[in-house]
């Protein structure tokens, strides 16, 4: 087991650094998710709550994957796409917070593709393109 400073968040909005092992980090993550599933079962959730529940499951279960295909065909990610236009502002808000593989979902929901060919693979540029699109279309300020 190696000890190293790792950034981890126990809530959607917080980040802390701590000298914990990689294994301890994963245990903490799983404990946080168990608490969340208990407090926010899917059947009683608003669109926002449902989105964040799906998003957190998705992020946890694709964290160690390199395959874009597997990342975007994950069942929780597909359910987010299935929620349609209502989640566009939520996705963009998350995209603003940190880069991630949201472009596929946004393309699927909107039918648009603002990402330049030469920016493929560059998550920062992809994020920039979609945030610009989001502002132009009034989804975010």
């Amino acid at each position: 087991m190696s000890g190293v400073a790792i950034n981890y968040s126990l809530t959607s909005g917080g980040n802390q650094s701590a000298g914990i092992s990689i294994e301890s980090y994963f245990i903490l993550k799983k404990m946080s998710e168990l608490a969340e599933h208990f407090c926010f079962p899917a059947s009683r959730q608003s669109t926002k709550e449902k989105f964040y529940t799906l998003m957190r499951t998705w992020k946890k279960e694709v964290l160690l994957l390199s395959s874009t295909t597997k990342i975007v065909t994950h069942p929780s990610y597909q359910r987010i796409i299935g929620m349609g236009q209502d989640v566009i502002p939520l996705i963009l808000r998350e995209f603003e917070r940190e880069p991630n593989h949201w472009s596929w979902a946004l393309r699927a929901i909107t039918g648009e593709d603002p990402v330049a060919l030469e920016d493929r693979g560059n998550l920062m540029k992809i994020r920039e393109a979609w945030l610009k699109w989001g502002k132009e279309h009034g989804y975010i300020e």
């Binding site: 087991m1 190696s2 190293v4 790792i6 950034n7 990689i22 294994e23 994963f26 279960e61 694709v62 964290l63 160690l64 994957l65 390199s66 395959s67 874009t68 295909t69 975007v72 940190e98 880069p99 991630n100 593989h101 472009s103 596929w104 990402v115 493929r120 693979g121 560059n122 998550l123 920062m124 992809i126």
Partner: protein, 140 residues
Amino acid sequence: MIGVIARSPETPTYNCIALSAGDDTRWWWPAGDSYWPKGISKDVTLEVFIQAFSTLDYVPCDNYELDSCFEKIVIFVDDNGEPTHAARQLENGKWISKLGQYIDVEHELNILRDYVLSLDKNTDYGYPAIILRRPKKLHR
């Protein structure tokens, strides 16, 4: 786990294929918005991944041995023969892997699969399928 050392913070900016290709600015994969070398097919097969690395002058080789004249990478495949992961050999003979969107780790080659399964029992990197190498002097 003994034999695994974290080498970088968590970041979604690049993946294992990119790190093995020497690129920490993009996510490499033959799908969607990910980067893939121009002119290379977008099928997810071992042959296609070998072709992708051939654009960086990598060719198949037959051993994992540390060789001061060559840079080596290894491609992992799952039980269906589909590429899942790549790792690059370090100057000390160990390997470096980017674990998806998570961290880079330095490790012995034969423990990586078990290590990743210990982090997430649903993520199986499979087995090393092929070693590729390229001469070091051309890429300083």
